[in-house]
Amino acid sequence: MTSPMISVQNLTKVYRVPERQPGLGASIQSLFKPRYRDVEAVSTINFEIEAGEMVGLIGPNGAGKTTTLKILSGLLYPTYGKATVAGFRPWERSPEYLRRISMVMGNRSALNWDIPPMDSFHVLSKIYKVPTSHYQRNLEALIELLDLHPLLKKPVRNLSLGERMKCELVAGLLYQPDILFLDEPTLGLDVAMQRRLRQFLQIYNREHHVTVILTTHYMADVTALCPRVMLIHHGHLIYDGALQTLAKKLAPFKLVKLQFSTTSTDFKGFITQFANTERLTSENGHHTLRVPRDNVAQLTAKLLETLPIADLSIEDPPIEAVIDQIYEEGRV
């Protein structure tokens, strides 16, 4: 049996945060008697990730997602617990380890802003000791895949956010790391660019069998890329499994959308025949019902049989609504 690529046991990170009351008096007082508070950003989390898996690490702002990634990439020392990535302890930051990982952050740049990206790529190839022939091959493949040719001669500061993000991905992948930590890579990008980056990551993962942990606030990223999600809330890992299972578990209902052929149809009495069914919206003859999954077949059959239906569709509730529900309640 092979050991997992990433293994985390009881990982905990506590930050010591200075705090004071607002106002001049409090600020003078804090000069002489500073106060600190311990904040547990990550609390005894456990998980394992196999080589080649793409896992979405999701949670509200301040949940501990980025702190977890920073520990795994070696940027932070944990307060307690163990973590091994590819057999290394990340925070020892051995050069052999750092050559096997890449961390791409949507809000941080690995590129020098004053010069064209090609110059930064060249420096990175030397820092990561990529043989020239491999560097040329990897670079050409990435440039082709991301359609980067028109951008290579412009200084990075003159690139748009989406163009820069493409270059960040090249910088993070040109030495072919085995493990990729992506911290909100689609942050601030337009829908078309988000879709292109997702397609790229899918292809790259399939071709190179790279292990990926992705943090994001866009559920479209997760649904497109990650068969498995880990949901973190207030530093605790509260769900680890398939996204669809999570949706079913949290939203044991479906949305039935219908339109009547006559505008005056009243179906209030009809709804009361089914337990736990409610009308969510009614507008211009279009209605949305929330129906328990087990009742959907029976309800739609009876609808079609007894009422003048012009159009009908059955949908899962949007994943954003499911996730929002967890963020609100703090539990699965």
Partner: protein
């Protein structure tokens, strides 16, 4: 050690800095001015005679070489180290398989080239105007080279370990201002060592600041006897070693304390 990566980084930083050469030339000009002011003050004090054995011409020679030495040993990079820690920008270097020290060194070396592109011709022009007097010998020149190189090592690592205190105190760069003040007082900027008050001279000989700036100038201009040069090198090497040890100590502790804010 990844020398090839380090060398590429230096070239890369140099290209980047040359984009802003106007800014760096102005910065270099700003550093020259206080030393020129002190040259004119002491020249006026010396008048047609001399002061503590220094004539107008020898003072001009001292200060012109000091201008170049100061530009060479001034560690500009250290002023940005604190910000990179405070703002979390050092994170991108920490996850690269090369010590972040290389980034500081590359900026230093690239910076020297950019600053010297301005300082050498301007100092040469000043020399033509104010006619300094030098008594240069080959042996003084030979000793000047290691003295100025170690002066840079000492000034860089002393400032670097102070800047790394930003791992704990958010505005540790104020300590760099203090370092510059001590260099101004004890490092031969305010006055050549011979002109300092007698109570200050022993302190200047013991503290590290003279060895970051004035010592190479004194070696080159022939102001020191053989045993003074020898002791000067011993003290300079001792302080350099201390600075490197302090850097390693603060770095290893600081990285554990790093909170990588932002993102």
């Amino acid at each position: 050690m990844n020398h090839q990566g380090g060398w590429e980084l230096i070239k890369n930083t140099w290209q980047s800095w040359l984009q802003h050469r106007g800014f760096f030339f102005l910065l270099a000009f700003g550093w020259m001015l206080p030393l020129l002011v002190y040259l004119f003050i002491w020249s006026a004090a010396a008048g047609d005679g001399s002061i503590a054995g220094l004539t107008q011409e020898t003072l001009a020679g001292y200060y012109l070489i000091l201008i170049l030495t100061n530009q060479f040993t001034y560690a500009t990079t250290n002023w940005t180290v604190g910000d990179t820690i405070r703002m979390g920008q050092i994170s991108r270097w920490l996850i690269q398989p090369m010590s972040p020290l290389f980034h500081a060194l590359s900026a230093e070396i690239a910076g020297k080239v950019v600053f010297m592109l301005f300082s050498i011709p301007v100092t040469g022009l000043l020399a033509l105007i104010i006619q300094p007097q030098f008594n240069l010998t080959w042996s003084q020149g030979g000793l000047f080279l290691p003295a100025i190189l170690v002066a840079w090592v000492l000034r860089f690592f002393w400032g670097y370990w102070l800047a790394l205190l930003a791992f704990w105190a958010t505005r540790a760069d104020s300590l760099l201002t203090l370092q510059d003040t001590f260099i101004f007082l004890f490092g031969g900027h305010l006055a050549p060592l011979a002109l300092l008050p007698s109570w200050m001279q022993p302190w200047a000989r013991i503290l590290p600041f003279r060895y970051m700036s004035a010592f190479p100038v004194e070696v080159l201009t022939g102001h020191l006897r053989h045993n003074e040069i020898l002791w000067g090198f011993v003290i300079q090497a001792g302080w350099s070693l201390t600075a490197i040890i302090l850097y390693r100590l603060v770095w290893s502790r600081g990285v554990r304390h790093y909170e990588s804010v932002g993102g």
